[in-house]
């Protein structure tokens, strides 16, 4: 019986729980009446069963209590109430609200910017359909000085791998992008282009505007041009079949437009406006097709199930067989990864741009953290304003969860408003951001962005709201209702720790930015062993190929030209070779030299210092058999007393006529490398001119006039050598700019928080200050009293931040072979700077408070 009655009880309990309270009474009566009747007819068990089924059959819409019932209504009401209270709080503490809003929205804006930047970086080159299985064959050159990683492979490799390796689905050869001249009958244009084999457009997913890209490179005389180039040259994109002339140095070729492609997407690491046939390049332009000549860039698409390292071993074996030695190893680098993972040290992948992607993601996180800390600190500091409210609410029966709900509502709502402001900021500032980062990021409100935005709001809400919610909701009723100072809120160790954290991060960012900027300055000022200021160069094309001597003679009549010469010197290096033999060379010894062809006077134009022997001169008939090394090369070869000795170059034996002081034509990421000059005025690509300082523009105009009289068919497009040099550091310069902006933001947001905190503290200590003044305390004394705490916090932050930034700075500087020394002045100044900034932040208020008339603060109680 007992079990029966418990069953009935629980069934009825269930019924009461779900039933619409308006109906509950009479239906329950019916249930009981029926139950009693059933009991007399068919016994307890049956009656029980019937009751149970009846109750379950009552569990249906129409009977079940509607959702607006008390419980649910309550939580919606609570939400409404919370939002209302939140808005009232915003309005009441406008200062706090503004500090939080400004801090969070700028913080969020930088997070959004970094998100856009990072996702753009990650998306680079990933739009190719075959991206999963797309690899570039790269080479590691083993030297006596270490392993050098290159992009080039022998062009002959293409045929070998295409036929012999089943793992390879498709393979293409291409060249680096270079600026060439294209001409029509009327005019000529400079444009970036490359050569690529027939299947190039099958391997890469570039889209066609006119014509079929897949077959567009089938003929040597075909050219594919981009839509914008078509518009530039022909003013139309309907240009299939039109002819163009392509020129490079002493080559030219008539080509016919076979297809027009859409412009290369902005998230492509290589941008070019035309593609010509690899077959033409390989058959007609490369005169020296050897297995030691690394002029090709080969990309392969592997079959999805192919083993990458096994495939690479086969490729490497081909190279070993063909070269007869194993000085060069191949490896397969994923094509889409190469943009971000572009750095190799000693043949091993060593990061690259991906480090900056990580770095900025972390910076974004910290900036957001700093902004959240402001919210945390200000709301816990203001807790004393809220103690009564919390006490009353708790007395009325508010649960801890409900109270936490209120603070979470506040922080999430603030996060939401800040995100709106941040989105507007991003939208407004994106064009400038694109200029700084040299990107074409567009801002789209797509699903992913909304997802990111919502998760950011909740992350901020929880990050910022968690501590205040726990802290405030945990206050004891009796304590919070008793008037008096709240325990712990005055000292607030946690709050101070957070301020210390904020300032540590800010100081680290300041030091980092400063360091980057100093290093970039150093790099740009550094004497590289050649003069790059006011040196211009342009390509020798058209008539300049034959008449370069006459052209140079004509230029002599311009007085503001210091020197002019033909030259093959290129920043970043053009050709490198291992093809030098000298007496005393060991069998396995191999040195990779940079080879540069020069005309007479070129060494003078570049102002490279001679340490021994003489420079090139056109007065010697046999000058083409002369060679000039740099000191590093002489040292690497171990030749003593080099002048007059002969070495064997791959083109014949050469006599050493001079040695120049070391110069660095690469970036300062690398050490000075062995290199040599050959006298080959006819084989130089450029005319190089050193202009007199101060008259550059006028001189350029005069040069242009002379140029046009010689070479009317070609555009005059001179380049400055130091611009090329700066381009070597383009990514570092962008990073320097970006980190500058972000660290300024970080310190600003930190100071905002400090400002809010100090306002609050001063407000609370007004009476104390008044009494102290009445008792004879001086203004300075009070200023000291008020700023002591903040100073201590910033000092602790400095102590924490400096070792960390020293460590980080040193590891960044290791990227450069030549770098600034990390002096203590750096850290001292950065720390001192932070201190001064924090003083300025609290200073004005402190002084105001100290100067206030004590009567004002003491008159009423």
């Amino acid at each position: 019986m007992a079990t029966d009655s418990t069953q009935i009880k629980s069934v009825i309990k269930f019924f009461r729980w779900f039933c619409n309270p308006d109906y509950a009474e009479d239906i329950e009566g019916d249930l009981m009446e029926r139950f009693e009747k059933n009991k007399t007819i068919s016994g307890d068990f049956r009656a029980n069963m019937k009751l149970t089924t009846d109750v379950f059959r009552l569990f249906r819409p129409g009977i079940i209590r509607p959702l607006k019932g008390t419980q649910k209504l309550n939580s919606i009401d609570m939400l409404k109430h919370n939002i209302l209270i939140t808005f009232r709080n915003f309005r009441r503490y406008k200062g706090n609200f503004l500090i939080n809003l400004i801090g969070l929205s700028t913080g969020l804006a930088s997070v959004l910017f970094i998100y856009l930047w990072v996702s753009d970086e990650l998306a680079t080159d990933s739009y190719h359909q075959n991206s999963e299985n797309l690899y570039q064959i790269r080479t590691n050159h083993k030297n006596s000085t270490g392993i050098k990683t290159g992009r080039g492979v022998p062009g002959l490799l293409l045929d070998e791998i295409e036929n012999d390796l089943p793992e390879i689905k498709m393979a293409i050869a291409t060249t680096d992008v270079h600026e060439y001249t294209l001409s029509t009958e009327d005019d000529s244009y400079k444009a970036n282009g490359r050569f690529a084999s027939e299947e190039y457009f099958n391997l890469f997913s570039f889209s066609s505007l006119k014509g079929n890209l897949k077959t567009a490179l089938s003929d040597k005389a075909n050219i594919v041009i981009s839509a914008s180039l078509a518009k530039r040259i022909f003013n139309s994109t309907d240009v299939i079949g039109k002819s163009l002339d392509w020129h490079f140095w002493n080559n030219s070729k008539s080509v016919i437009v076979s297809a027009v492609m859409n412009d290369i997407p902005s998230n492509s690491s290589e941008k070019f406006d035309f593609v010509m046939s690899w077959d033409y390049y390989h058959d007609d332009m490369i005169t020296f097709k050897g297995w030691g000549n690394y002029y090709g860039r080969i990309m392969v698409q592997l079959h999805p199930d192919a083993d990458v390292s096994a495939t690479n071993e086969k490729i490497d074996q081909i190279l070993i067989d063909k070269q007869g030695s194993d000085t060069v190893d191949t490896f397969l680098a994923k094509y889409g990864d190469q943009y971000l993972y572009n750095k190799y040290t000693n043949g091993v992948q060593a990061g690259g741009r991906i480090e900056y992607v990580w770095l900025f993601s972390i910076v974004a996180f910290f900036i957001l953290g700093i902004a959240c800390i402001n919210f945390i600190n200000l709301s816990t500091a203001k807790a004393s304003h809220k103690t009564k409210e919390i006490g009353v609410k708790k007395t009325m029966g508010a649960s801890r969860l409900a109270l936490m709900g209120q603070y979470f509502t506040e922080s999430v709502l603030l996060g939401f408003i800040s995100l709106l402001v941040a989105t507007a900021l991003v939208w407004l500032l994106l064009p400038y951001f694109n200029i700084v980062t040299d990107k074409q990021i567009t801002f789209q409100l797509d699903g992913l962005f909304i997802l990111v935005a919502i998760s950011i709001i909740f992350a901020v809400g929880i990050l910022a709201g968690l501590y205040p919610a726990l802290y405030l909701s945990g206050l004891k009723i009796t304590e919070s209702l008793k008037s008096g100072v709240l325990k712990g809120s005055g000292r607030a160790v946690g709050r101070k720790a957070l301020v210390v954290f904020q300032f540590s991060i800010s100081i680290i960012l300041i030091v980092a930015t400063w360091l980057i900027q100093e290093q970039m300055e150093f790099v740009q000022q550094k004497n590289l062993g050649y003069d790059r200021e006011n040196v211009i160069y342009f390509e020798r094309e058209g008539t300049l190929l034959e008449k370069s001597e006459e052209f140079l003679a004509e230029l002599k009549s311009i007085p503001t030209i210091e020197t002019a010469s033909t030259s093959g010197f290129m920043i970043g290096g053009a050709n490198s070779t291992g093809g030098i033999e000298w007496t005393g060379k060991g069998d396995d010894e191999r040195i990779e030299f940079w080879e540069t062809r020069l005309g007479a006077n070129a060494i003078e134009t570049l102002n490279i210092e001679m340490v021994a022997g003489r420079s090139f001169s056109n007065e010697f008939a046999t000058e083409s058999e002369s060679i000039i090394f740099n000191e590093a090369a002489i040292k690497a070869m171990g030749i003593s007393d080099p002048i007059g000795k002969t070495v064997k170059h791959y083109s014949g034996s050469k006599q050493i006529v001079g040695v120049v002081k070391d110069f660095n034509m690469l970036s300062l990421h690398t050490e000075i490398q062995p290199s040599f000059f050959l006298y080959r005025p006819d084989f130089t690509h450029f005319v190089m001119i050193k202009l007199q300082k101060g008259a550059e523009i006028a001189t350029l105009r005069q040069i242009e006039t002379v140029y046009e009289s010689f070479n009317p068919d070609f555009p005059f497009k001179p380049k400055f050598l130091d611009q090329d040099y700066q381009a070597l550091y383009a990514s570092e310069n962008k990073i320097a700019d970006l980190s500058g902006y972000f660290s300024i933001l970080a310190i600003l947001i930190s100071c905002l928080g400090l400002f809010g905190l100090s306002t609050f503290t001063i407000e609370k200590r007004q009476k104390e200050i008044g009494i102290r003044k009445v008792l004879g305390s001086g203004v300075l004394n009070i200023v000291y009293l008020l700023s002591r705490d903040f100073t201590a916090m910033v000092l602790i932050a400095i102590v924490i931040a400096l070792p960390v930034s020293y460590y980080l700075g040193r590891s960044w500087l290791e990227n450069f072979a030549y770098n600034i020394t990390l002096g203590w002045s750096f850290f001292f100044l950065a720390g001192f700077g932070a201190l001064v900034i924090s003083w300025l932040t609290v200073g004005l208020q402190t002084i105001n408070a100290a100067l206030a008339n004590p009567v004002d603060s003491l008159k009423d109680e």
């Binding site: 009479d26 009566g29 009446e33 009693e36 059959r57 009552l58």
Partner: protein, 109 residues
């Protein structure tokens, strides 16, 4: 807004409420329906219909006195409103109209 049409079960429930004039509360209605129509009626389905009809204004209800039986729970007595009565009459007339329209021959087998 179309005119509300009574369902079959709704009509039966309303008629039963009318039969039990003054005594029509949940359990009694079920007893009456089971007795007269020989069909099983669950409390759930009946109550849903009662509440629905009440909401539509075809029935109205009030609590009776509390008694010792039924665990002290009050009964809720339903009565047909004048609108409900009109609905029932209409339904009846429609049926009759249909019946009258059947030619004699159709149902003679």
């Amino acid at each position: 807004m179309g005119k509300y049409q009574l369902g079959e079960f709704e009509e039966v429930v309303m008629l039963t409420v009318a039969i039990l004039y003054g005594e029509a509360y949940g359990f009694a209605i079920i007893e009456e329906m089971e007795k007269r129509l020989n069909r099983k009626v669950s409390i759930g389905s009946l109550q849903t219909v009662l509440r629905r009809l009440e909401k539509k204004g075809l029935l109205e209800s009030e609590f009776g006195e509390a008694t010792k039986v039924r665990g002290g729970k009050r009964k809720r007595f339903f009565t047909v409103t004048s609108v409900g009565k009109k609905m029932l009459e209409e339904a009846k007339e429609q049926r009759l109209g249909l019946w009258n329209a059947i030619p004699n021959i159709a149902l003679n087998d």
